[in-house]
């Protein structure tokens, strides 16, 4: 199970990095989103599945660790805000430059 999780996270990270290196700004943003989700999975793998009983509930069995779940939840909420802002900036770029090719959005280079 651990190996499977590690492989899944690794594959997602790889796909994300590949997408991120594309010239198209929309694709590279999607790559960023995929990497971010891979890291969320990694946080989840740090211990969310180790127990069988929920924390703060009077049940028998090993308690699961509530902290990784809290971390992932916070990270998801923050990245949702972050990605909506990135998408808004992308919209701004596409209305200003009428392109999604990062090589053509290069006013600052000169």
């Amino acid at each position: 199970m651990d190996l499977l999780k590690a492989l899944a996270i690794g594959a997602m990270f790889g796909v994300g990095v590949f997408q991120m290196l594309r010239r198209n700004v929309i694709r590279s943003t999607i790559g960023l989103i995929i990497i971010s989700n891979a890291v969320n999975l990694f946080l989840l793998a740090t211990g969310a599945y180790q127990g069988v009983a929920a924390a703060y509930v009077n049940e028998a069995g090993q308690r699961s660790d509530a902290l990784p779940q809290a971390l992932v939840l916070t990270a998801i909420v923050i990245s949702m805000a972050g990605f909506s802002l990135v998408l808004a900036l992308l919209y701004m770029l596409s209305t200003r430059y009428h392109t999604s090719d990062s090589d053509e959005i290069a006013e600052l280079k000169n």
Binding site: V39, F42, T46, L71, L85, L90
Partner: protein
Amino acid sequence: MNAHVVLLPVLIPLTGAAVGLLVWRWPRVQRAWSFGALLTSFAAAIALLWAAWTRGPVVFQLGGWAAPFGISLVGDLLGATMALMAQGVLVTGMIYALGCRDKAITYPAFFPLFLTLTAGLTGTFLTGDVFNLFVFAELLVSSGAILTAIADDRAGAEAAYKYFFISLFAAIFLLSAVGGLYVSYGTLNMADLAVRIAADPSPPLLAMAMMLMFVFFMVKSAVVPFHFWQPDFHAAAPTPVSAMLSSVVVKLGVYGFLRMTTLLFVPQAATLRGLLVVLGVVGVLFGGLAALGTHNAKRMLAYSTLAQIGFILVGIGWGTPIALAAAIVLTVNHSLIKAAMLMLAGAVASRAPIKSAAFANITGLGKSLPGMGALFLLGGLALAGIPPTNGFIGKLALFRGGVLAAEYPALAAIGVASIITVVYVVAAFERIWWVPPAEGVKAKPGGDRLLAPALLIGLCLLLGLWAEPLLRLASDVAVWLGDPGLYIAAVLGG
């Protein structure tokens, strides 16, 4: 005074921003309210530093959860000093914004965003929890990105996109580091982590987590291999915002390196310090040479930030108490000087026929602006480290630290870089104030108000002529940093 004082510099700007958004229909009310909130929070930051300096660190456990389980806010001497520096410069930034002619200022969320920027930056300096650091850093970068995207400059959106993309990616690095540390040690509290890392530095993920965190702080401070977004971003932002970004916001990385080498990763500190000296030397030389070759006053100052951060990193890298004290003096001084210089460059640009800080556009404009010339010259002297300004004090302390640590190759490099600083500052002054203007080019009568840069330059002179308080504070901080046990005892209770 009770421990709540450490909450105030974070909570007041956050509440202020929320209320500020509610009154967006009444711009005057919003401005007055936001400025009042920032001033109150500045007063709280002064009280916090005073409490930390006279009575020891102020620690507050959020929600009443005991230390390693809950989230602690720690107002220790380093955090409180950085928070006060940040809020002081942010107050002048808001004064500049209030007297600024940019259209960006009329954006309904401008002042609330300024306050969330303050809250995010102060929060990163005061938090005692690694994950909380990530949350505050995200607040900081999203406010900074929006404030840049609304710039009058058309390229603002491009710069904001670049910055935000890189920052989100850097945040992912920090998040992976958090995961690695949690797997290895089962805690995220910085004091608790420090105890456990010192007790057992063997987990395989530790080195990975350490380097990921190091890279995060490198991106935040625009240290050389990760600097590429910084000049674009700082040159395109509206003047009051770019003055803040290039002065106090880049200090987040500096703060992180100080914490990493003196608290979190003390057993590995020698490796990190060696790396910091190399990166610092590369930074001072690269930043200085790049600043020489620019065609835009704001861009020149942004590259100069790379070099000045390099000086600070070299100080942290030497790691002796006197070098650490020098790094802290340089950190405070650079924030004041760079904010003032960027405001002056922006104020000149606001009086130019076309609003741009390109040298081709502002050459000779200074002829009718002698007062600004005097301020710019004083700021330039401070940047280059020439007496009677505070820049001299910081450089002197750094050189003394280098001689005592017998680090001659690095000393030679930063000596050369100091000379380069003089060259580009004087070249910029000459182009704006000495060269005769092109035919028919004259400065417009109205423009951004000069109160804020005048305040900052006055403070630079004051700290140059009466340097003892800052030097004493910095050496106290260095002594405090010398013993991580003090921080740990303050947070965990011991």
